[in-house]
């Protein structure tokens, strides 16, 4: 009380009796003032602390719904899932002008130097994927492959969500469900390149894309059974774009799968692709001058693919160790006509096809690959793959004497080891002995990276 009074009086005294104040009393008064200030400062700080506490409690008591409502409206809440995959490699390979599988008609019209063609340090396609539910009935997905000067629309499709009864309809551009590896994007491949079989079947991209509609149905059974079919434009190899109404390519596929105990699961499939080609150009060697001539095929192309995959992991827990065995086999028959002529840009007039020669074309070719990939410890996998094709029988009729025909069985053996510190990154070393070109043994060494940014979704089995 007394100190309180003195503190209140002190400033007054200071004002009222400036002359009376000696040095000692001034010092005393200064101390008093300092104390006064400090006292109030601490009391204010205490009050502030209490207010902060009350506010925090009030915030905690407020139901979260209210808290959400006070948040500013965001225009990006419906943004699609976005993922970006970075891919590149260092490749050491033989210097070859053209890399075509001997004995098989190559897919042209897509011969920009990229991917498997380039040596040294290369940047592969950067995959940009956007996906979201469109509304309650549809889901949409776009997958764009970016490379210098080009954006390729790899996939752009919608899919039904709620048809029920196991039915799903997909429309747009999509990777066909034929075979096993066909629906996999390059970043999901177990090796740095696609199998020889898929390259022979569908060209450099190693997959068959449809511009069309797919219907699939999952049976209500204990065993997984899926049946489906697609109709589409059929512009991709082995067909050609034919500027017509109607159906350009048809596929039919059946898949079955299940578990064997807790440790193993399997899937097997059988698929068929039927399409037509009109003046599908491939390069051949002329038998007279040994120069390059063009063989343009027009006719039907039918492909059967049988596929099987077996996955094993101890107790079905693939986190530490797991093994995947995978094999596919194809048989392709093509029948129609072949027109042999010289490339107008490189015409020499000395070849057997200096003036166009038309003949029949009937081929029956096959091939397969088998691979095993084993994860021996978390993050580390090793894999081996063997490719083998059979150029089979090709009946060229009157052109048989004009064109050199390779009767060849291309093979390739591949070994790889990869390291994935997380499911979003992978670095792979791959060595291959490629005998897909007659008379050439190409020993290849690849070091590849695959990095996924963003909402990288789940992969199918």
């Amino acid at each position: 009380m007394q100190t309180g009074l003195r503190r209140m009086l002190a400033p007054m005294l200071l004002i009222a009796q400036p002359a009376l104040a000696g040095d000692a009393s001034v010092a005393e008064l200064r101390d008093e003032l300092r104390l006064l200030r400090e006292n109030y400062a601490s009391r204010i700080a205490e009050l502030e602390r209490q207010i902060a506490g009350v506010e925090a409690r009030a915030a905690a008591v407020t139901p979260p719904a209210t808290a959400q409502r006070t948040a500013p409206a965001r225009g990006n809440a419906f943004n699609p899932e976005i993922s970006l995959t970075l891919q590149g490699a260092y490749r050491s390979m033989k210097n070859l002008a053209e890399r075509e599988i001997s004995g098989f008609a190559a897919a042209h019209g897509h011969d920009h130097e990229e991917g498997g063609e380039q040596r040294g340090f290369t940047l592969d396609h950067t995959e940009l994927m956007l996906a979201a539910n469109v509304d309650d009935r549809f889901r949409g997905v776009a997958n764009l492959a970016l490379i210098d000067d080009a954006v390729e629309v790899e996939e752009a499709w919608f899919q039904t969500l709620g048809l029920g009864h196991g039915l799903t309809v997909k429309g747009g551009r999509f990777l066909s469900a034929i075979g096993y590896a066909n629906v996999q994007h390059p970043h999901a491949w177990d090796f740095a390149d696609s199998s020889l079989m898929y390259r022979a079947l569908f060209g450099e991209h190693g997959s068959y894309g449809q511009d069309g509609v797919q219907l699939s149905w999952v049976a209500p059974t204990e065993l997984f059974i899926e049946l489906g079919g697609e109709i589409g434009r059929g512009a991709g190899f082995p067909g050609t774009d034919r500027n017509g109404n109607g159906i350009g390519a048809t596929t039919v596929f059946a898949h079955a799968g299940g578990d064997v105990g807790a440790a193993s699961s399997w899937r097997a499939g059988l698929s068929w692709l039927g399409t037509r080609a009109a003046a599908r150009e491939s390069h051949y060697e002329d038998s007279l001058a040994g120069e390059e001539v063009v063989g343009a095929f027009s006719g039907r192309s039918r492909t059967w693919i049988a596929d099987a995959v077996w996955k094993w992991a101890p107790d079905g827990n693939p986190a530490a160790r797991n093994l995947t065995l995978q094999a596919e086999y194809f048989m392709r028959r093509e029948s129609g006509d072949l027109a042999c002529y010289e490339d107008p840009d490189e015409a020499s007039g000395a070849t057997a096809c200096a003036s166009q020669v038309d003949s029949r074309y009937r081929s029956r070719q096959s091939g397969w690959y088998a691979q095993a990939v084993y994860q021996f410890m978390p993050g580390w996998r090793i894999g081996a793959r063997y490719d083998r094709l059979d150029s089979g029988s090709v009946d060229l009729g009157t052109n048989a004497s004009n064109i050199e025909q390779a009767d060849y069985r291309p093979t390739r053996s591949t070994l790889m080891v990869d390291w994935s510190p997380s499911e979003f990154s992978r670095i792979r070393l791959q060595a291959a002995r490629d005998r897909s070109m007659q008379g050439v043994t190409d020993n290849q060494l690849w070091l590849q990276y695959v990095m996924s940014l963003g909402a990288h979704g789940a992969h199918a089995f």
């Binding site: 029920g164 048809t250 799968g257 993050g379």
Partner: protein, 301 residues
């Protein structure tokens, strides 16, 4: 080509004609929810579990058998909170079954009815396998089991009204027995309060929170990232000031990192069942917690 189509259509017609089973078909993503559905559904439900206690639920693959099961399911019961993000979306998209799509009555997420722990303030893949909605391993706290049971009983009755009384009765019985059991566990678990432990994966946040255990460190340097010898050495050095009493791991975890650290520290590794089926005694949810509490008490003494 026509012939091929006819064969396919014939197969399809034959399969479609197969008789459907009468009971409500439930696909449970994890064994604990399978066990809970069995307890609440009795003979009115047919339950299929997508994973076992020996499997790391983050890393399960979208196997064909699971697509077939999702195709036939009337109800999907999962932990949610993105625990199954690596495989469940694929199942749902391939199965063609709108009954169990997110938003439909047949889609049940357990994490939606409990309070989430460890909700990150920063979502960055540099932090490892973080779950933006919080730690999804909610089944290790018995209070959460009860909350999920309450919501699940309501959902079962909503989907299958003819058997609603059965679900209500079994739920009332389960909840009563569960409360009694919880009192028992909590009484026995008192000595665990404050005990410091190291965990394999950040999978035990709810279990530790329940009797008040302290998580001193984790074998995985970041969630979902495998430990390296350098990260283990750093962990060991950091534990010198506050030595843990035990190392906890789930039955499905790779044991090498925890065994190494346990050897260095001279402390035991406790392999917790983590879910139903994770140990011999964990045959149902009651057994799961009986066994979990006993295994923890064994190292607390």
């Amino acid at each position: 080509m026509n012939r091929i189509f006819r064969v396919f259509l014939g197969c399809a017609a034959l399969l479609a004609a197969l008789p459907a089973t009468a009971a409500l078909q439930v696909l449970a993503c994890e064994p604990e929810w399978g066990a809970l559905v069995r307890a609440l559904g009795g003979a009115d439900v047919g339950v299929r579990e997508a994973t076992t206690a020996r499997q790391d639920v983050h890393r399960v693959q979208a196997r064909p058998s699971l697509i077939a099961a999702a195709r036939r399911a009337d109800l999907l019961v999962c932990s949610g909170a993105e625990l199954e993000i690596g495989w469940l979306p694929v199942l749902l998209r391939q199965a063609g079954n709108p009954r169990i799509l997110p938003g439909a009555p047949g889609y049940f997420e357990a994490a939606a009815v409990v309070n989430m722990l460890e909700v990150p303030t920063r979502v960055d893949r540099a932090d490892g396998d973080v779950h933006p909605d919080g730690n999804p391993h909610i089944q290790t706290d018995p209070h959460n089991i009860l909350k999920v049971a309450d919501a699940l009983a309501v959902r079962l009755a909503e989907i299958d009204p003819p058997n609603a009384t059965g679900y209500a009765a079994r739920h009332a019985d389960f909840a009563r027995r569960w409360r009694v059991a919880m009192t028992g566990w909590e009484t026995r678990a008192r000595p665990l309060a404050g005990m410091g432990v190291v965990v394999q994966h950040k999978a035990f946040a709810y279990l530790l929170h329940w009797p008040g255990l302290r998580e001193i460190g984790a074998i995985e340097p970041k969630p979902g990232i495998e430990p390296s010898s350098a990260s283990l050495a750093a962990l060991l050095a950091g534990l010198a000031t506050d030595p843990p009493r035990a190392i906890l791991r789930a039955a499905y975890d790779d044991g090498r990192g925890s065994e190494w650290l346990a050897g260095k520290l001279g402390i035991p590794v406790v392999v917790l069942p983590f879910t139903v089926g994770g140990s011999e005694r964990a045959t149902d949810l009651f057994g799961l917690f009986d066994d979990t509490v006993d295994r923890l008490l064994a190292v607390a003494r």
